[in-house]
């Protein structure tokens, strides 16, 4: 297992909700993504636990792209990964954020 942590600074314009959102299943080539509101001084923190070792740079690229696209603040994202490809990771993150923002509105 490999545990990674990433932090991205958001503008704070986008507000989250108190409700936790979870999408996806930890099965081969898939992952679960949990989104929770957290007072992180404007940061979006992403914790990844993955069974595939040695892909920190790819996680960095995928997650920084995601964070830059959506401008997220005060959000804790927790990921349990069972070897999902970057495309699947992007889709799950987008799906989780859709659900999360829907719950906030």
């Amino acid at each position: 297992m490999e545990h990674l942590q990433f932090e991205f600074k958001g503008s704070g314009n986008r507000t989250g909700c108190q409700q936790t959102t979870l999408v996806g299943v930890v099965s081969s080539g898939n992952l679960e993504v949990m989104l929770e509101h957290s007072e992180l001084l404007g940061l979006c923190r992403i914790n990844v636990s993955t069974s595939a070792k040695g892909f920190a740079e790819i996680w960095q690229a995928v997650l920084s792209d995601f964070a830059a696209r959506y401008d997220l603040s005060n959000l804790q994202i927790s990921i349990n990964d069972a070897g999902a490809t970057p495309a699947v990771v992007c889709l799950r993150l987008g799906q989780a954020l859709d659900d999360y923002l829907e719950a906030s509105s």
Binding site: L22, V25, E32, E36, N80
Partner: protein, 301 residues
């Protein structure tokens, strides 16, 4: 371009994940999860083995309403380690059943999808299964019906196959499979001559929903639609009788009779033939409606 907008599509039970099944089965918005993912109640055994955890440990439990009736519900996620039961997973299930003895809901619904005990935490998983069975029977004895729903890709096998058969009633779709040893386990231990796990027709003739219905192991066979499961649950709840010594003795007599009648058969199709079903080889191809019409007075002794 094909226009699909006019087609009314239900929600496939088979295709849905554990959470989707709950949300379509219960009254909309009524589900309240217990020990949700934010609690991070994960398995302590998987990390040291280099296996990823799940925030739910492969099972979602909680309360909700179904047609206005209060129910407790558990839903196993087949995608996570084949729905296998570990220490935390089993404890959540046991806890839910014990809660039912205090809260006395109208029913406990177990959405079962599991290969059995999680071998990564074998002893803890085995103990968990026995605790689940004990709690399930105590719940039934306290007068709360426990219904099992089966119909996912991973079937219901091993220890959870035993748990399923401890329920008051089971509801299954054609795709659902129920058994003790799964096809791969039988082939591995007894050889491919005994059971060819790649022979899908054979697998469904022996472990699939239709056969399990004819044998009387499940009480209701439904289309692969979560709404059909929902209706079946609503119909089943009032028909459940409390657990008694007499009902158990009757069940044992039924099983002894079944073994005497069909113990020599090598295949589900042979049993169907002995049940007096004409053209038994046509059963697997029938939709549920024609199947039920064909077997109306057969099987389910």
């Amino acid at each position: 371009m094909s226009d699909l907008s006019g087609i009314q599509r239900g929600h496939s039970y088979y295709e849905a994940d554990a959470r989707q099944r709950i949300s379509h089965l219960l009254d909309p918005g009524s589900f309240q999860e217990i020990l949700g993912p934010a609690e991070r109640l994960t398995s302590p055994h998987l990390e040291p083995l280099g296996q990823p955890c799940s925030f739910n440990d492969g099972i979602i439990i909680g309360s909700g309403s179904l047609n206005g009736l209060k129910v407790l519900v558990a839903s196993q996620e087949g995608g996570f380690m084949g729905g296998a039961v570990g220490e935390v997973h089993g404890a959540k299930l046991t806890g839910l059943l014990e809660r039912a003895q205090d809260e006395r809901p109208s029913a406990v619904l177990l959405l079962l999808e599991s290969g059995g005990v999680r071998l990564h935490e074998a002893n803890a998983g085995l103990i968990a299964i026995s605790e689940v069975i004990r709690a399930l029977l105590a719940t039934r004895f306290a007068g709360t019906p426990v219904l099992g729903l089966i119909g996912g890709a991973y079937g219901c096998f091993g220890g959870m196959g035993i748990v399923a058969r401890c329920c008051d009633a089971l509801i299954i779709n054609e795709e659902g499979r129920l058994g003790l040893s799964g096809p791969d386990v039988i082939e591995t231990t007894m050889g491919v001559e005994e059971f060819d796990s790649n022979d899908r027709a054979l697998v469904w003739r022996t472990l699939g929903g239709k056969h399990r219905y004819l044998l009387g192991e499940v009480q209701c066979l439904v289309e692969d639609d979560i709404n059909a499961f929902r209706s079946a649950v609503i119909n089943a709840i009032p028909t459940v009788h409390p657990l008694s010594l007499e009902s158990l003795q009757q069940e044992h007599l039924r099983l002894a009779r079944r073994l005497a009648d069909y113990g020599h058969c090598r295949d589900g199709a042979e049993i169907w033939s002995e049940m007096g079903i004409n053209d038994p080889h046509k059963l697997p191809l029938m939709d549920i409606q024609s199947f039920m019409a064909t077997v109306a007075d057969k099987g389910q002794e």
